[in-house]
């Protein structure tokens, strides 16, 4: 072949799609694998195995075509194992699930290397050995004839075709079949009304062949005949009236399974062959077709394009605000230049457009949750605990940027819940609890934020032990501190109460990092717990990072933006309220509290000092501390579009970004956490 098939004009674009799809396939496969219950008699698994098989097969085909031979090889091994399972040659074992999960990880690692994200080729020999071991496990009904792979010959006719097959797909299918065995006598008349015919020899059954062909052409125009046989068998899964158990070549696996179950007296693994189960199995086999049809409702769009759209709409919002302002300023003048109705429309459409565009960036939080079944699966195996993971509100939507940033803190919380929160099965039974512990993840939207709860029904936080640890660390705690105040101690750096440090958690770098990361997103973390009943950690983050509700203040003619979430209150300073402490800076009395004072004009010296400086104190709060920030004036409250300062300039201490104001000028956004930490550093006694 010298000519590239039309479907793959740009190999790089195709590679990108391949990696994306591989990612998706692997995620699907993992989700299905974790749902399977090995070593239990569960009917209707063929549908699952077929879905996994299809995913792995399409990875294999594309990988081979793009020259990722290591991936193709590994996928091929997986296919062999899956093939065995879906033909019900032996029951599913825990080892199968484990081997397939590991193989998925290895494929992922290989894909990363091909993408150039890592240079290290993963060592897959262990995984391959694992897969081979599982392949070699004894099969049921192994009666000599089935012991080794048998090559079988088929002649295949696809047609009459309703429409021409995509040249790339056809190429891929033939290449895939060629890899499974050998393809010969290919006659291609690829046009409507024409047909494609070839003969193929491979290690597999007619059903295998059909599943490969089904990726490209509908099954109802596929005819598969054993080479040399006279009676053609329609590949469409119709029960074939045959009583010969040995003739399993052309029998639909579901029907075969049913018959074998009936003929074998009470096999431990076979499902109860109720009359209703056969149609159900057939339905399972056909389900993926409708799934494929539903997928066409989506298109893949690169993130850059969406970010560009978000930026452009942000510009439009600002332009609209400028127009509205200049229209308002002309009202007292002579002739109005703009029609009021037109302006109102413009402003409404702009707002709707902005909402719609931001909605594109929103992803359901299930994108984060979906990684936890695997984590909990591994943790529970390692710790010898029995854990059930429950989800709620997975469809709650969150900005894409947040989804990425929130997954690490949440992973930490889930790990904590399983490792520290839940007891072992024995302890739970001794406490009168069910042996299986529950970890629950729940997300809801409340106003402009998303609240995520990570709760467990484990032992709960130990008030006495936390207090003892605080005493050891020299942290003063009031004797009558409420539980809520005691739990706050957990968020202090270096605070970990785990009695023994496991390799999973408990190094004391946990909760303070979680809190810092969440606060960096403009969110907050709270913890509630009852001894013996469990612990709930509540994480609240804003819906989007792109837009922030903000308070604008001015200092010496310069405008600064404060995220409203961190503003507690603001008040006019009376002279007698502010006091200067020796070597410590100023302190401001707010009701019964004395707060450290930061003069914004001293932190960010303005070009020209204001005539009457520092009249207003804004009390800001972050990391559990409050600081009085002295400014000249409060300007207003508005939504601002957050822009990066680092993109073209550099990080500036004390600033978290910039925004464009209604008049097109730039205002800087203050980093409240940094300001609060400045004060903390000034307090000599603090740990």
């Amino acid at each position: 072949m010298t000519q590239t098939p039309t479907g793959f004009g740009d190999p790089n674009a195709y590679r990108a799609i391949f990696f994306d799809e591989t990612q998706e396939h692997l995620a699907n496969v993992e989700a299905i694998l974790l749902r399977l219950r090995p070593d239990e008699a569960s009917p209707g698994l063929q549908g699952d195995f077929n879905a996994i098989f299809r995913a792995v097969h399409s990875i294999k085909g594309s990988a081979a075509m793009l020259g990722c031979d290591d991936m193709a090889g590994l996928a091929h091994l997986q296919e062999n194992l899956l093939d065995l399972l879906r033909k019900d040659e032996r029951p599913l074992e825990a080892g199968d699930v484990e081997a397939l999960l590991r193989a998925g990880d290895a494929l992922q690692a290989q894909a990363l290397r091909h993408r150039g994200m890592t240079d290290r080729a993963p060592d897959t020999s262990a995984v391959e050995a694992l897969l081979r071991d599982q392949l070699a496990r004894p099969r049921i009904g192994a009666q000599g004839a089935q012991s080794g792979p048998v090559r079988r010959a088929f002649s295949v006719t696809l047609g009459p075709l309703v429409a021409a097959i995509d040249a790339g797909d056809l190429e891929m299918m033939l290449a895939g079949l060629g890899e499974m065995g050998s393809v010969a006598d290919t006659r291609i008349d690829n046009q409507p009304g024409g047909s494609v015919a070839f003969s193929v020899e491979l290690e597999g059954t007619a059903a295998d062949l059909e599943s490969v062909l089904a990726l490209v052409v509908p099954t109802d125009i596929t005819t598969i005949e054993p080479a040399g046989a006279s009676a053609p068998v329609k590949a469409a899964p119709q029960p074939v009236p045959s009583d010969d158990l040995g003739d399993e070549l052309f029998v639909d696996p579901a029907v075969f399974k049913q018959r074998r179950a009936a003929s074998e007296p009470a096999p431990a693994i076979a499902p109860a062959p109720g009359p209703a189960s056969a149609p159900a199995l057939l339905a399972d086999l056909h389900e993926p077709v409708s799934v494929a049809a539903a997928e066409t409702g989506y298109i893949r769009v690169s993130i850059e394009k969406i970010d560009l759209l978000v930026n452009l709409v942000g510009e439009l919002v600002i332009t609209e605000a400028m127009l509205a302002r200049s229209a308002a300023s002309q009202e007292d003048g002579t002739a109005p230049t703009f029609s009021d109705a037109g302006l109102a429309d413009l402003s409404r459409h702009t707002r709707n457009l902005q909402e719609a565009v931001l909605a594109i960036r929103m992803l359901p939080i299930s994108n984060v949750f979906s990684r936890f079944p695997r984590l909990v699966h591994e943790l529970s195996a390692r710790l010898g605990k029995r854990v059930e993971l429950k989800f709620g509100g997975e469809s709650t939507e969150l900005d894409r940027g947040l989804i990425e940033k929130i997954s690490d803190p949440l992973t930490h919380l889930v790990r904590n819940a399983v490792d520290h929160g839940l007891e072992t099965a024995e302890t739970r039974i001794a406490c009168g609890k069910p042996p299986v512990g529950t970890v629950r993840l729940h997300a809801t939207q409340r106003g402009g934020s998303v609240v995520i709860e990570v709760s467990d029904d484990g032992r709960g936080l130990d008030r006495e032990r936390i207090l003892a640890k605080a005493a050891r660390m020299g942290i003063p705690v009031a004797a009558d501190a409420t539980d809520a105040q005691v739990w706050q101690l957990v968020f202090l750096p270096g605070f970990s109460t785990a009695e023994q440090v496991t390799d999973l958690s408990g190094r004391g770098v946990g909760m303070d990092v979680v809190r810092r990361n969440i606060q960096a997103l403009g969110g907050s973390v709270d913890i509630s717990s009852a001894a013996g009943w469990g612990t709930t950690v509540t994480v609240s983050v804003p819906l989007t990072l792109a837009i922030v509700e903000a308070m604008t203040v001015s200092v010496g003619g310069a405008t600064y933006v404060l995220p409203l979430a961190s503003v507690a209150e603001s008040l006019r300073i009376e002279a007698q309220q502010i006091h200067r402490l020796p070597h410590e800076g100023d302190t401001l009395r707010v009701r019964d509290d004395w707060l450290p004072v930061l003069h914004l004009a001293r932190l960010f010296p303005p070009a020209q000092a204001a005539a009457e400086a520092g009249g207003i104190a804004v009390i800001v709060e972050a990391e559990g501390r409050r600081v009085a920030l002295v400014v000249d004036e409060l300007v207003g409250q508005q939504q601002v579009v957050v822009k990066s300062l680092e993109a073209n300039y550099r990080r500036v201490p004390g600033l978290s970004g910039a925004t464009v104001m209604g008049d097109g000028s730039v205002a800087l956004i203050l980093d409240v956490s940094h300001l609060v930490r400045l004060c903390a550093a000034r307090e000599p006694a603090s740990p």
Binding site: A558, K643, N648, R650
Partner: protein, 167 residues
């Protein structure tokens, strides 16, 4: 036709390549920068100052939704006067996948120079200005053009324009 194995140590023997430069004035001198680095030329608008930054960094502006730092080469090169009026010009540059604006006295012309017209910068024993940023000099008519490697200059450590470069 030159035989392939001929020694071509002198650049004059290679086919003469033309390079295009944007020239501008800073004080009494003419400077030239690679035109491929220039995104656009704008009039001066008052940027938002960032306190505690070096004097030559005038602040940041909103360039169609992108926050762009503006620096004044006149301040950087310690020229006596740096005033801002409606004739002050800002060259918006695209360097190392970043956007930045530089203020100069005036933009003069687009100049096409053959490569062999560029002479190496003489070595100064005690340079007040770091000649690493000046790959060469060229004479156009009677005037001297100072070639400026604007990318090297702006991403250099003393510009504090890029994270990590300054500390």
């Amino acid at each position: 036709m030159q035989p392939a194995f001929a020694r071509t140590a002198e650049p004059a023997q290679a086919p003469v390549r033309q390079r295009e430069f944007l020239t501008f004035r800073l004080g009494a001198e003419n400077y030239a920068i690679d035109i491929l680095k220039v995104q656009e030329i704008r009039g001066w608008e008052q940027p938002t100052a960032i306190a505690n930054s070096p004097a030559f960094i005038k602040g940041v502006i909103n360039l169609r939704g992108v926050i762009v730092p503006i620096l004044d080469l006149r301040v950087k090169f310690q020229l006596p006067q740096a005033s801002y009026d409606e004739f002050t010009v800002v060259i918006i540059l695209n360097i190392a996948s970043r956007v930045a604006g530089v203020v100069v006295d005036s933009v003069s012309d687009v100049l096409s120079l053959p490569e062999d017209a560029i002479r190496p910068t003489p070595e100064f024993s005690s340079a007040t200005f770091d000649t690493r940023y000046i790959p060469g000099l060229a004479t156009v008519g009677d005037e001297l053009m100072i070639l400026l490697d604007i990318e090297k200059l702006l991403t250099g450590a003393d510009m504090a324009l890029v994270d990590g470069a300054s500390h």
